[in-house]
């Protein structure tokens, strides 16, 4: 079991790196629309769980497209990061990553960025994820498992259908996660259905009076999740949100 010392955790935000060229070392098809890309980063530096990288594509005529993607891997994975990307049909960068990239390809990237939607080891912590909004939360959960296994962290993860569960085997390997299917539950499912509600939050066991909360997903998901968090008693200053836009 790896454990951070007082000296290295919480990590201070650092000046982000410059543009650099990473190498794809592994691609995992997580769901029909979601892939994870493991990337070897030459000028790697440790990130805070919740931070993102910018990815930049350049066409032969100089045209460029940039997007931000959350890091899914723990900063203990020295030298590499994992980016998990939802393929958006009308997207420009996500379709390239999904349809073109193979292991061994190079990708221009820069990071890690932003120091607000980050987990610095606080506990208890409740994570509310909608769809691909689970990605930065998975980074937090992976890091918590490896550094503070006794800290209380729970994930309530809302997906529309069973084939949209990202990281299913890894989530099932622990007992932190409560799944809910908002559109269609799989056959024989005896767990939760429908949107995240006060009952699900209460069932997580995280005390709103002392807990921190991270919510990530679509704007609609985050809006209802954060209002719900306020209603059940989480302090506004301990609710942090990240909204994934319909862009890609």
């Amino acid at each position: 079991m790896e454990r951070l010392t007082q000296d290295s955790s919480p990590l201070a935000p650092r000046t982000p790196g410059r543009w650099q060229v990473g190498t794809i070392t592994e691609i995992v098809q997580e769901t029909p629309h979601v892939k994870s890309f493991r990337i070897a980063v030459p000028m790697w530096m440790p990130h805070l769980p919740g931070q993102h990288y910018d990815v930049r594509l350049t066409a032969p005529d100089g045209y460029r497209a940039q997007r931000s993607y959350s890091i899914a891997s723990s900063p203990l994975d020295e030298g590499t990061i994992e980016l998990t990307v939802d393929r958006l049909d009308d997207g420009e960068v996500s379709t390239y990553l999904h349809d073109v990239l193979v292991v061994g390809d190079h990708i221009e990237m820069r990071g890690p960025f932003a120091a607000y939607f980050v987990w610095r080891g606080e506990a208890p912590t409740l994570l509310l994820g909608g769809g691909s909004g689970v990605v930065p939360l998975m980074c937090m959960l992976r890091h918590q498992r490896r550094t503070e296994p006794n800290a209380q962290m729970r994930l309530v993860y809302s997906v529309r259908r069973a084939d949209e569960v990202i990281y299913a085997p890894e989530l099932a390997a622990g007992d932190e996660t409560t799944l809910t299917f908002s559109r269609e539950a799989p056959a024989g499912w005896s767990g939760h259905c429908g949107r995240i509600d006060a009952e699900l939050i209460a069932a997580s066991g995280i005390d709103p009076a002392s807990g921190s909360l991270f919510a990530c997903g679509s704007n609609g998901f985050v809006e209802s999740a954060s209002q719900l968090a306020l209603t059940v008693g989480f302090a506004p200053e301990r609710i942090r949100t990240e909204r994934y836009g319909p862009t890609g």
Binding site: V100, F113, Y116, S226
Partner: protein, 203 residues
Amino acid sequence: MSDFVSRAFGGRRRPPEGLEARIPPGQYYEAGFPVLTAGPTPRVGTGEWSFTIDGMVGAARRWSWDEFHALPYEDVRRDIHCVTKWSKLDADFRGVSLDTLLDGVEPLGAYTMIHSFGGYTTNLSVDDITNGKAWVVTEYDGDDLPREHGGPARLLVPHLYFWKSAKWVAGIRVMDNEEPGFWESNGYHLHGDPWREERYWND
């Protein structure tokens, strides 16, 4: 500049013909109006809303919602650029120019901290909010400014990345030194000029 070229990338979301020059580097054309907020969306009623200018000023001012609406309104059509990479062209707002609001206030410092209901802050120099560069707007696209976009009132500083255009804006504090606001303390650039790609620290 890097000479890296992405294998088999042609670009499939280029800006519409003729609009390329209005999209800053690293941005893409977006027809919609995405929502980005760091926390829960505050509920601010117009009855409790007011706008204050204070700090290092010759004469502090405060306007209630009704007093604010008695000020001269302007139609403001501008391109807006979010640091998350989208740019929206010809966004239509209505509001009051900061030149109008600052008239008679006499700022004595060169910097300001914008503050919002809900606790958000962002820093701007007095230069960046005067001479036709900034407004407090209460209408978008012919209607009341939606709550998720900062209603009842937000700042509009379209020549800088859109995080500077504080939602649910409550006031301006004039200061004689430059201090970072919320995103500026969390990894984003102190100034935020999209044409110079001032996105992050040290850009």
